[in-house]
Amino acid sequence: MAEPLTIAARRGVRPRLRGLVRRIAGAVFVLWAVATVTFFAVRLIPGDPAEAILGGPGSQTSPEALAAVRAEYGLDQPLLVQYLQQLGRLATGDLGRSYALNMDVGPLVLSQLGGTLVLAVLSLAVAWLIALVLATWSTGRGRLAAQIGSGLEIVAAALPHFWLATTLIVVFSIWAGVLPPISTVDARGLVLPVVTLAIPLAGFLGQVMRESLTTALESPFVLSARARGESDRGVLWRHALRHAALPAISLSGWAFGSLISGAVVVETIFARPGLGRTLLNAVTVRDVPVVVGVVMVVALAYILMTIVTDLASALADPRPTEHGNGALS
């Protein structure tokens, strides 16, 4: 129905704000749940945290020391108490103290966050670029181009990070010797990791973009644009691309998450400081506070990212979501 629709469109902003508030509430909930799940999950892991604190299970620690540590970290408390204490600390933004690293988790995570964020954001950008170029190049160029394009995307999407990373290192570091296989002070060290993360992601984004790009190019408004004398490029940039971008944008939230997972592998291979590597190490030495801390930060980043992407897609597509009242057909 046209009338409510128009109104909805005019007052479109306020509900989005209200939505934002709802989102924040939801975010808090999710963070709480994430903290809880992680806390108990890591507690289920075999192995005594107290050992982890005293230089790992390899160390020969005296019972006194263990007892002391248990007391110090409240590990002698009943699980529920520990859990509540943990929540209390988290609520005050205190991520607690690492068992293994002899330092507080907050500063540690913060120091590692930057590297991972840079990696993830750059990779996302590069992935977008690749996907866009590929999709635009291979659509409207006949079936062969389209098949090549989607073929490339499918292959890209199927590349395991660690395999890709190794191959890139062999080719660009060992054979060509043009790019460093490890992080460096300057940006060169970023190239291979970013590419490693970006290529598979580009495959996914590309597939999504192509779909919507094709549908957009088939739609009547493109025809009438052509009827106005619009050129292919004009059609692409002024009309089709924007439609093509929509699903990819809404995907970016998920993509960010997957990039973080990818970081675990990539940071290890390319010896980059970052959350992924921190996490892997922490997990292998049962460093509960660090694990929880990283997970919390990652979850937070993920939530923020989804909110951002939602706003982005709202900007890119200002159409109101509700369509009058449900009609019979």
Binding site: P57, S111, G177, P181, R277
Partner: protein, 584 residues
């Protein structure tokens, strides 16, 4: 243009690469010992390689080769070291005390005494020492006017503080704590003389003190919180901890006022290198690639295949430094079936084709060991014929032991129980080549009828598996100077786990005769007697088929061509860069 330059440079480098080698070999009787393994020129591949590397260096913006190169040590420059070991959680080796800590802390901490390449104790922070006849009291005279990099002077009190620190449970020391088990007290005889009082004689005391885990730190620094001390321990060493960015790098700056090199050092005064960047690159492929690309100058934990590549290259130099203490071996859990039966143990050992495996996997970078001790241990006893591959003998032994039936899968069974060997493998402690070795043993033992079940575990799960006695075979390295390591590994006391579940006697050898031998050897001050006691002990161990020795604890470093004068300390084979300089 650049290629010419690099060719010229690598040639000259090749020449220079030889120099310190010979210098070392002279001093070095038993090969393979700490020292630089020669690298023969291969002019065919050589120009290309050189070109590639030079190009890599140029493009990666590192300082490219300068045509004029001297063999005279040049001061200055930054050396980048890439470690494949886990990043230490604390740089103070007093805390916990594992090899990764030793690796880095040897750059800025020093011990009272050291070892020369013959395994003889030589002075370091202590000029001289004496022991009372009952062997219960030791006096160490410290070097004069040595001071820690925070200005605190090195004196008897400082040593006392360190011993106290090591023995304080709060510190959570493991290795050092054990090594000082017999030390009941210390006193300052004078400013420069400190006396140790022992409960029983300890023939291994000096060797223990030579270890980096008992290095002497600034007492002032030790009073700081453990966090601060872990982040930047203060010692007397040639370098100073400048900064530590977790997961990334530790930056070490030269100690300009350095005065206390060990007796076997090449030069006096401050180190040549201006600074060392100590990086952590867990991925072996990346690590080697980084070395090739010239991003780093030295890597440790070099993989066999990269070593053999290095051997044939002229741009990378191989430094082989097997660790002291125990050899790498598979310990058979004699505490429970099936290995509580010596025959079965022997059968297993005979059924495992180790020689071929070592040959193929380590491509000459590792030598088969038939001893419980590392080849660098002077008192090591080797019994090759006990460990040769003999499937038929193995089969007979098993038949004799009642494992005569075979099930459908070809595995031996006895009263319906399959001859299973649970073998947890620590992915942190066994390099891939070693894990492959185990797989090959698994394969060859299968032919005789053993069902070897390998499970790769991360460190924590691995220790948990050991703690819960859920293993039949296991391989755990143990680094310690001197044969006293045998006491730790094979004395019955080592069976009862520490509160953390850790125990060293994985073979669960419980043999009173052996125990008494070890204790005696540990307490005698007469060298010959000590030697014979340890020999008897080793015979007992080897003939009891408690262990399957494999090879020395592998400890390979690869050095970029620019690195000169680097060596491994004869103590626990940690790299030392005091004499090192960059020939760029």
């Amino acid at each position: 243009m650049r290629l010419d330059a690099s060719v010229f440079w690598t040639e000259s480098n090749n020449a220079t690469a030889g120099f310190p080698r010979t210098a070392f070999v002279k001093r070095d009787r038993r090969m393979p010992r700490p020292g630089i393994v020669p690298s023969s020129p291969r002019s065919a591949t050589f120009a290309v390689l050189a070109g590639a590397v030079a190009l890599g260096l140029a493009l990666t913006g590192c300082t490219t080769a300068t045509p004029d190169r001297s063999d005279e040590p040049a001061a200055g420059g930054t050396l980048t070291y890439a470690s494949g070991d886990a990043e230490p959680t604390c740089l103070d080796p007093h805390v916990g005390g594992n090899y990764p800590q030793a690796l880095v802390s040897s750059q800025f901490l020093e011990s009272l005494v050291s070892l020369d390449t013959d395994g003889t104790i030589i002075p370091w922070l202590a000029d001289s020492w004496s022991v009372s006849d009952d062997g219960l009291s030791w006096e160490f005279t410290l070097k004069d006017d040595v001071s820690f990099t925070d200005g605190t002077p090195l004196d008897a009190a400082a040593v006392q503080a360190n011993i106290a620190h090591l023995q304080d449970p709060e510190t959570g020391s493991s290795t050092g704590y054990l090594a000082l088990a017999k030390v009941t007290g210390t006193e300052a005889v004078s400013d420069s003389v400190v006396r140790f009082t022992l409960a029983q004689p300890d023939s291994a005391l000096l060797e223990s003190l030579a270890q980096p885990w008992l290095a002497i730190e600034s007492p002032t620094a030790l009073t700081r919180s453990q966090d601060e001390n872990c982040a930047a321990p203060v010692g007397t060493g040639p370098f100073i901890v400048d900064s530590w960015v977790k997961q990334n790098a530790i930056t070490l700056m030269r100690n300009e006022d350095y005065t206390s090199p060990p007796a076997d050092a090449e030069h006096a005064g401050p180190a040549y290198l201006e600074s060392i960047v100590w990086r952590f690159i867990p991925d072996s492929a990346s690590r080697y690639a980084a070395l090739q690309a010239g991003e780093v100058d030295v890597i440790d934990n070099a993989q066999p295949d990269t070593i053999s590549q290095a051997e044939s290259s002229d741009t990378i130099v191989h430094l082989d430094a097997p660790r002291p203490g125990a050899s790498n071996r598979i310990e058979l859990n004699s505490g429970k079936a099936p290995f509580n039966d010596a025959a079965v143990r022997e059968a297993f050992i005979r059924s495992a084709n180790v020689d071929d495996a070592v040959a193929s996997l380590f491509q000459g970078s590792a030598e088969r060991s038939y001893s419980a001790l590392s080849s660098v241990e002077p008192l090591g006893v080797s019994e090759p014929d006990l460990f040769d591959y003999d499937p038929d003998a193995a089969a007979e032994l098993l038949d004799g032991a009642g494992w005569s039936q075979k099930d459908s899968d070809g595995y031996r069974v006895k009263d319906g129980v399959r001859l299973t060997v649970v073998f947890p493998v620590s992915t942190n402690q066994s390099i891939p080549a070693e894990q492959s070795l185990f797989e090959q043993i698994q394969a060859t033992a299968k032919e005789t009828g053993f069902d070897v079940q390998l499970t790769k575990l991360d460190l924590s799960s691995w220790y948990t598996a050991l703690g819960s006695n859920a293993y039949d075979a296991v391989s755990a390295p143990y680094t310690k100077i001197g044969p006293d390591v045998l006491r730790i590994l094979f004395h019955a006391d080592g069976i009862t786990p520490a509160p953390s579940g850790y125990f060293a006697n994985h073979a669960q050898v419980n043999n009173p005769e052996l125990d008494s031998l070890l204790t005696e050897a540990d307490q005698t001050n007469d060298a010959d007697q000590r030697a014979s006691l340890y020999e008897d002990a080793q015979e007992l161990i080897l003939n009891g088929y408690y262990i399957l020795p494999l090879y020395d604890q592998q400890n390979h470093f690869l050095l970029g061509s620019a690195v000169e004068g680097a060596r491994a300390l004869p103590t626990v084979s940690t790299p030392a860069f005091y004499d090192a300089w960059l020939n760029r």
